[in-house]
C-alpha cells in the first residue's frame, strides 16, 4: 500500500475575494516535494481529471486524457522538483495533450488550458467550484429568450432526455431538437461576445 499525501483542512488565511463563501477548503501545507512518483500521482490525479473533465465534458475522454498526461509526464519527472513545479509541469503536459485531442477529434481547438489561469485552480484543489466559467454560463442562460433557456436547462442541468424535454415543453421531439440547436447557437454567439 502507498501512503496518501497528507492534507490538512484549514481556513485559508487570505482567500481571494471571489472565494469568500467557500471556506474551509483543503490545502497542502506540509512538504515541498513528493516522496515518490506515487505520491505525486495520488495528489494530482483528481486535479488533472477534474480539469480534463471540465474541458471535454465526458468521462471516457477525461479518463483517456488524464492517463495520457501522467504517462507522458511521470517518466521524465524529477522528484527533487517542488510540488508547485510538478503541478506546473503536469499542467503544461495537459495543455499539449488537450490540444492534440481536439486536433485529432475535430480538427479545431475547442477548449484550452491556460497555464497561468489554471494553475491556481489546480493548487486550490477543493470542493467543486463553478468558477468564472460557471458564472458566465449562468449569465448567458439568464439572457436567453425563455424557450431557449428552458430547453437548455432541461437538457443540461435537469438531465432530461430529448423526449422528456419535449414533453415538458409541450412540443414535438423534432421541435425540441430544433430549439436546442438554435438555443446553443445563440448562447454560443453570446459567449463569444462576453469578455
Amino acid at each position: 500500500m502507498f501512503d496518501s499525501p497528507r492534507r490538512y483542512r484549514q481556513e485559508d488565511p487570505s482567500p481571494p475575494a471571489d472565494h469568500h463563501e467557500r471556506v474551509p477548503y483543503l490545502r497542502l501545507v506540509e512538504g515541498d516535494t513528493y516522496a515518490d512518483w506515487e505520491a505525486a500521482y495520488l495528489d494530482n490525479v483528481d486535479r488533472i481529471y477534474r480539469l480534463m473533465y471540465s474541458r471535454v465534458g465526458n468521462r471516457p475522454d477525461a479518463e483517456d486524457l488524464t492517463a495520457e498526461v501522467f504517462k507522458a509526464a511521470l517518466g521524465p519527472l524529477r522528484l527533487s522538483s517542488s510540488k508547485g513545479e510538478v503541478r506546473a509541469y503536469l499542467l503544461a503536459t495537459a495543455r499539449t495533450v488537450l490540444a492534440s485531442h481536439w486536433r485529432r477529434r475535430l480538427g479545431q481547438p475547442v477548449t484550452f488550458i491556460d497555464p497561468d489561469a489554471d494553475i491556481a485552480a489546480l493548487d486550490d484543489f477543493s470542493e467543486p467550484d463553478d468558477g468564472e466559467a460557471g458564472r458566465k454560463t449562468r449569465r448567458i442562460l439568464t439572457a436567453l429568450p425563455e424557450r431557449y433557456r428552458r430547453i437548455l436547462e432541461l437538457r443540461f442541468l435537469e438531465t432530461c432526455s430529448i423526449k422528456e424535454a419535449a414533453r415538458a415543453m409541450d412540443v414535438s421531439v423534432g421541435n425540441a431538437k430544433v430549439l436546442q440547436h438554435r438555443a446553443l447557437r445563440m448562447a454560443a454567439s453570446m459567449a463569444e461576445l462576453e469578455p
Partner: protein, 218 residues
C-alpha cells in the same frame, strides 16, 4: 456548420459517452465549447472513479518500474476499445455470437491481470512523420487472432497501405484501405503470432510513409 454532427456530439456529451470525431468548423467549435461548459456544470462527475485511479496507478508502476512492457493506453479505456474492436472485427469477418463471446471473455479475463493482458493483446500508436498521434493498431492473439487499426487524422484522404513487420524483418501482413475525411479502419484475421510483431507502417499508394507504430517491447 454541421448541425447533425454537432447535435450528435452534444447528445454524446449529455449521455457521458465519447463523441464521434468529425471535421468541425469554428462555428461548430463555439457551440461545442458552450455545450461542454454547460455539461461540466452538472454536479457529480468531477471525481474520477476509484477503479480508474487504481488501474492507472498500476500501469504507471509498470511503466516507471520497467518490469513489463508498458501498454500504450489506459487499461480502463482499452478494454472498452478492445471489446468494440472485437465486435467490429467479428462483424467484418462474418463471425458468430460465440466468437464474440469468446473474445469478450478473454478480454474480461485479461483485465484481471496485466501480465495475462499483454500475452493476449498488443497495442501500438501510429505517429506521423511530424511526431503526432494519428491512430492506433491493436493485435489480438486468440481464436481467431486478429489485427485492427484505426486512423483519425483530419486532412488525410485516399487509399493507404498498412504493412506489419515482424521482429525477424519479414512482413506479417499488408492491407489496403481508404481514408475518408480523416477516418479509416482496417481489420483482418491473422495466423501469425502477434507476439512477433515489431512495427506497422502506413504508406500512401505512391510509397510515402505517413505514420509508424512500434509495438512496446520490441
Amino acid at each position: 456548420m454541421n448541425p447533425r454532427r454537432v447535435a450528435a456530439f452534444v447528445d454524446a456529451v449529455l449521455s457521458d459517452r465519447r463523441p464521434a470525431p468529425f471535421k468541425a468548423d469554428p462555428v461548430d467549435a463555439n457551440v461545442l465549447r458552450l455545450a461542454i461548459a454547460m455539461r461540466a456544470e452538472r454536479p457529480g462527475q468531477e471525481v474520477p472513479e476509484p477503479q480508474f485511479v487504481a488501474h492507472l496507478r498500476e500501469e504507471l508502476a509498470q511503466q516507471i518500474g520497467g518490469t513489463t512492457t508498458s501498454p500504450a493506453r489506459s487499461v480502463v479505456t482499452r478494454r472498452a476499445r478492445f471489446v468494440f474492436a472485437a465486435a467490429t472485427v467479428v462483424t467484418m469477418l462474418g463471425g458468430t455470437v460465440a466468437a464474440t463471446t469468446a473474445v469478450e471473455n478473454a478480454l474480461a479475463t485479461a483485465t484481471s491481470s496485466t501480465v495475462t493482458y499483454d500475452k493476449l493483446l498488443r497495442v501500438g500508436q501510429f505517429e506521423s512523420t511530424g511526431g503526432h498521434a494519428v491512430g492506433e493498431i491493436v493485435a489480438y492473439r486468440g481464436d481467431p487472432s486478429w489485427v485492427l487499426m484505426s486512423i483519425r487524422e483530419p486532412g488525410m484522404n485516399g487509399p493507404v497501405v498498412c504493412r506489419i513487420e515482424m521482429s525477424n524483418g519479414h512482413t506479417a501482413a499488408t492491407g489496403t484501405f481508404v481514408v475518408h475525411n480523416g477516418v479509416g479502419e482496417w481489420a483482418r484475421p491473422i495466423s501469425i503470432d502477434v507476439g512477433m510483431f515489431r512495427q506497422a507502417t502506413l504508406v500512401t499508394s505512391a510509397g510515402s510513409v505517413l505514420a509508424t507504430a512500434r509495438f512496446p517491447g520490441t
